[in-house]
């Protein structure tokens, strides 16, 4: 034990080989938070360089985000030449869940080595174990989760919600071209199929068009991942989390949910999109070094106020205040948490600094100019008068020493002057609207919750409830957790879109 050979099967490894401090014991219902809490304890007592066992033996239920978290951790440790092992759940239904969601294949796709390399000797036989929990019988969600008539030659997946991976065979960084440029459409097209749309319409709450999940949420989340620098793998996985079966006489009896391990307290559709690229805050910070990351003045009616709370890993409050989306960022020493939050603001994009926009409206073409020239980047910055900027102490600006400061470096548009001519020049097209549209759709259209785990931060944002909204005059509330430096940064970026289902809203 203690060697760093991460490339082969370790036939001598048993559960007993791992002491208390080398084991992440995960029992009962396991969510990403549980893994991170246990990780905090693990890294808190040592360097973490020795072999580590992710012990799911007593797992009753595993959240899909927890699985993504495991993959990110396993990848990080594999590249650091640290051994990691995965102990299968004792409960057959939970093992079947891992198999039906293709977790073993997802690990192999992300890391580039067989899943068996991460298994204990006693667990190797689970790889060939036939699954018996899922039959495809029941309602439309059951049918999507498992297709008993599926054949390996099929174009479509056996389980609609299973892990889907995009990576280059040579494991080089993904660039947004070819099949990867195609990836957002490929995934969103699946979510726009009549069968899934009908199931979404049946099981999702609200009257929002369910096509918006494919058109905005899936498309923008995946296209955002495709564009993350240094990403070598992108994975998409989803699941309808249900507490109990919708019992309709027509649906008959199916394997009970407790048998399937559906012991969850939130009924929702959860969609995870993960890439192993550079963290969002770092990407924006690097872009900020080159120039502005906000493209243009945004119409005030598109900007909202957000109540933000920043906490450390132990839950201690580090900052609390209101951030206005119309604040213009001018400081390069902005706190990373703020940058992560800003990635969801309208018109914020790392792409701004990478090009010099032609400041022209949608002009009539010069008839003599070749079409190609006309097609070159006409950014939608309308010939607007320069916005009247005035410094105001709003938002949170935190210096690197971690002390909150009033945002002297943050400028705010003057809305009070109500200069209608000025406002009329604000238009909303341009780069940086994709994630913003996604956020708005998750929170406002579907009344859902958006989670981002990236680098040293976790962000949760949702619509503020009435009392909160009135008290702070905000539309959203956002909680950001800062992880300590002694826990390895989360590998890549994970977006979790949580949309309530019909049962959850009733």
């Amino acid at each position: 034990m203690g060697t760093s050979d991460t490339t082969s099967i370790h036939t001598d490894m048993q559960r007993a080989s791992f002491g208390h401090n080398a084991c992440l014991y995960l029992a009962g219902t396991i969510r990403a938070d549980d893994i991170e809490r246990r990780l905090g304890q693990y890294y808190g007592v040592g360097t973490g360089s020795g072999p580590l066992l992710l012990d799911f033996t007593d797992a009753e239920y595993i959240d899909i985000a927890a699985l993504v978290n495991c993959i990110a951790l396993m990848l990080h440790r594999y590249e650091a030449k640290q051994l990691t092992f995965f102990a299968h759940p004792a409960k057959k239904a939970v093992r079947d869940f891992l198999q039906v969601w293709r977790f073993p294949e997802a690990v192999s796709d992300a890391i580039g080595v067989p899943f068996s390399n991460f298994l204990l000797a006693n667990d190797l036989h689970y790889l060939n174990e036939p699954q018996t929990t899922y039959t495809g019988r029941g309602d439309g969600i059951d049918a999507l989760e498992y297709d008993p008539d599926w054949s390996p030659q099929s174009d479509s997946p056996r389980n609609f919600f299973e892990f889907l991976s995009f990576f280059k065979q040579d494991r080089q960084a993904i660039s947004p071209e070819g099949q990867f440029l195609y990836a957002p459409r490929r995934v969103s097209r699946r979510w726009a199929e009549p069968s899934i749309l009908e199931v979404l319409a049946t099981h999702m709450s609200g009257d929002s068009p369910k096509e918006e999940i494919a058109r905005i949420l899936i498309f923008e989340a995946v296209s955002n991942a495709v564009r993350h620098p240094s990403a070598r793998v992108i994975q998409v996985v989803s699941k309808f989390e249900r507490k109990f079966h919708k019992k309709s006489p027509a649906h008959g009896s199916d394997t009970s949910h407790s048998e399937k391990g559906w012991a969850t307290n939130k009924e929702a559709l959860r969609i995870c999109v993960w890439d192993d690229g550079e963290s969002i805050d770092m990407t924006l910070r690097n872009a900020l070094e080159l120039g502005p990351i906000q493209a243009f003045p945004i119409p005030p009616f598109l900007c909202e106020r957000i109540f933000v709370q920043l906490r450390d890993f132990e839950g201690n409050k580090k900052y609390e205040g209101v951030v206005d989306e119309s604040d213009r960022l001018t400081s390069r020493s902005v706190h990373s948490a703020r940058l992560l939050l800003m990635s969801l603001f309208p018109g914020v994009s790392r792409a701004i600094s990478q090009r010099v926009p032609q400041v022209k409206p949608f002009e009539d073409p010069d008839e003599t100019a070749p079409r190609k020239k006309l097609m070159e980047g006409h950014l939608a910055q309308i010939t607007a008068p320069k916005p009247n900027l005035e410094a105001e102490g709003v938002g949170f600006e935190i210096s690197y020493d971690g002390k909150p400061q009033l945002g002297k470096e943050i400028e705010k548009h003057s809305e009070k002057k109500n200069d209608i001519n000025q406002i009329s020049s604000y238009l909303a097209s341009g780069p940086g609207m994709g994630l913003y549209a996604l956020r708005r759709t998750v929170l406002d259209q579907f009344q859902g919750t958006l989670f981002i785990r990236s680098g040293r931060y976790r962000l949760i944002i949702e619509v503020a409830h009435d009392a909160f909204r009135k008290q702070y005059n905000v539309r959203y509330k956002c909680k950001i957790t800062e992880y300590p430096k002694w826990i390895p940064s989360f590998r890549g970026n994970l977006l979790i879109l949580q949309l309530p289902t019909l049962c959850a809203r009733q």
Binding site: S156, S208, P361, S424, S429
Partner: protein, 576 residues
């Protein structure tokens, strides 16, 4: 009074002439929403405009420039118009990204400010969410256009409208009329599905387990890429025939899309949906179902009727009550509707029954059995190619297609015209699958010699791509002239600048092109077309042909793929 209409295709490279059915569609819509307008008030005939996927993803703002350009073309010398129809309804809804819609709204604001137009009708494949970004922008137009008058009406394919106007312009209820016009202008699901049935060649086997025998077939019918059409037709069939049933019992092993569509359809209507296999193998389930009312049977295919009869017998023996109406994906009786004993069978499409082989040569040759449900091969098997070639006459190569200055024509080759007439859809399905599986850049178009056989391939390919594929056809005489000039296109292009194909290529710079031909004999046509594309700053990303008689020969550095490699290169003339 005057109006214009602009059709926008997303994800299609280049532009093309707007189709007459779309022009009629627009002409008929204008008076529905603005009664003062008449079809004759339409100004200009524009090309369909397109924004490719790359730009829609990275530079959605390009759409604004494209719209402005198109509008200028349409209105010509006129300073303003009364109404503009922007038609995005031909695109899948997922392609209409929210940032694109924001650009569209901004463009409307700019045009209103310029005073060129104040009334816009936007035809969409779906309405954006009421709490989404675009809707928020539209709801606040009064802040962006404080001093202007404007009307913006969004229309969904169902005819549902959403209007934005400071004058509270009442939009008439156009649901039924619009829905019918839309159906007329866009191919109906019933028609589309008929074009999506593929007769695949292979080594297929029908099992008759009760009789302990099996029979082989050389053909298998397959419904490709038509989940949407099946959903629509299933819904229509259910409303017409099966309103009283409590559920469906299905055997859809060979049609994954159909079973997904059926399961979600049943879920949405709280109908019981069970596989016939499960019912027959699980006595408890059968007992439970026998207590319910009528069940409808749904099968992927009706062949001889043996399987259907077996299912009926088994289920009836279990006490399950069956509806007399049966739905099948493909009805091989030769008719869409037929009867099987006292059961009425309705199909989505009809086909003729494939002959079953008494003595299967493929079995004797030890060829693997093909899967009716899936086609794992991108290429054509030798057995299929040879049997197709032998079924049709052999002819000498058309003299006009022979690059006479380079080599000699073939005395005998398979008659590709008749092969394509019979198998064109299957061959184009193969090409479509190859391209769909990511073997192409994101934005691309097809270029080929303007000859009937290659045109029939690309016409068929267009259908698989739902019309969203730009095709440029290059006249053969121009290719020949250029070949004689050492593939130098300068002189041909200088005299053909006004030709459609040159204009099309001019609009396609920075995209990728796939060269398509029926067969490759020496690579000369492909090299010449590759030279043309490079001359126009277009990347030829691949060369695709049905049969490659010269496999391994360089085609101007362009990666090439053939459905079948058949070594028989053209005899070349030696240079003096």
């Amino acid at each position: 009074m005057s109006f214009v209409s602009l059709e926008i295709l997303i994800g299609s490279a280049g532009y093309r002439r707007i189709e007459p059915r779309i022009v009629n569609f627009h002409n008929n819509i204008a008076p529905l929403l603005f009664p003062n307008l008449m079809p004759g008030d339409r100004l200009g005939l524009t090309h369909s405009c397109s924004i490719d996927h790359r730009r829609s993803l990275y530079e959605p703002v390009t759409l604004g420039t494209i719209l402005s350009e198109a509008l200028s073309h349409c209105i010509g010398e006129k300073n303003d118009i009364d109404m503009c129809i922007v038609d995005l309804s031909s695109n899948p809804f997922i392609s209409v990204r929210e940032p694109l819609l924001l650009v569209l709204v901004d463009w409307i604001v700019v045009e209103c400010k310029k005073g060129r137009c104040n009334s816009f009708v936007v035809l969409l494949p779906g309405l954006p969410g009421e709490r989404g970004v675009t809707t928020r922008q539209l709801n606040n137009l009064s802040q962006l256009l404080p001093d202007s008058r404007w009307d913006v009406i969004l229309v969904a394919p169902s005819g549902e409208t959403r209007a934005y106007s400071p004058s509270a312009h009442a939009v008439p209820n156009i649901r039924t009329q619009y829905f019918n016009l839309f159906k007329e202008a866009h191919d109906s699901a019933d028609n589309r599905i008929k074009k999506k049935i593929v007769r695949r060649l292979g080594h297929f086997r029908t099992l008759y387990p009760r009789e302990g025998r099996s029979k082989c077939r050389q053909y298998s019918f397959y419904l490709h890429d038509c989940a949407e059409e099946m959903g629509y037709m299933l819904s229509k069939w259910w409303e017409e025939k099966e309103g009283d049933c409590v559920g469906v019992l299905y055997d859809l092993k060979n049609n994954p899309s159909f079973r997904h569509v059926l399961r979600s359809f049943a879920d949405a209507r709280s109908l019981r949906a069970e596989r016939i296999t499960d019912v027959c193998q699980d006595p408890e389930l059968a007992k439970e179902l026998s207590r319910f009312g009528l069940f409808a049977l749904v099968l992927d295919v009706l062949d001889s009727g043996t399987t259907l009869r077996q299912h009926i017998e088994d289920l009836s023996n279990l006490g399950i009550k069956l509806s007399k109406n049966v739905l099948v994906g493909i009805n091989k009786s030769g008719h869409v509707d037929s009867a099987c004993d006292e059961f009425r069978v309705n199909g989505f499409v009809s086909a003729t029954r494939e002959a079953e082989e008494e003595k299967c040569i493929q079995c004797q040759l030890g060829l693997a059995i093909s899967d009716d449900a899936e086609d794992p091969y991108l290429k054509i098997r030798s057995y299929d190619m040879l049997s197709v070639a032998l079924e049709h006459p052999w002819v000498s190569e058309p003299i006009l297609e022979v690059p006479g200055h380079i080599g000699y024509g073939y005395d005998l080759i398979p008659d590709f015209t008749s092969i394509l007439r019979e198998h064109g859809r299957w061959l184009s399905y193969k090409i479509h699958r190859f391209l769909k599986e990511g073997n192409c850049p994101d934005d691309w178009f097809v270029v080929h010699p303007n000859e009937p056989d290659s045109s029939s391939i690309t016409d068929s390919l267009q259908e698989w791509c739902n019309g969203a594929l730009a095709v440029v056809r290059i006249p053969r005489p121009e290719i020949t002239k250029t070949q004689e000039a050492g593939n130098d296109w300068d002189s041909v292009l200088s005299t053909a600048a006004e030709e459609d194909w040159v204009e099309q290529l001019n609009s396609l710079s920075d995209t990728g092109a796939l060269i398509v031909d029926v067969f490759n004999a020496s690579g000369s046509t492909a090299r010449s077309l590759a030279a043309l594309l490079r001359h126009m700053k277009i990347v030829p990303f691949g060369y695709f042909c049905l049969v490659n008689f010269a496999p391994g020969r360089d085609i101007g550095g362009v990666p090439n793929f053939a459905l079948y490699d058949w070594y028989n290169p053209r005899k070349l003339k030696t240079k003096a």
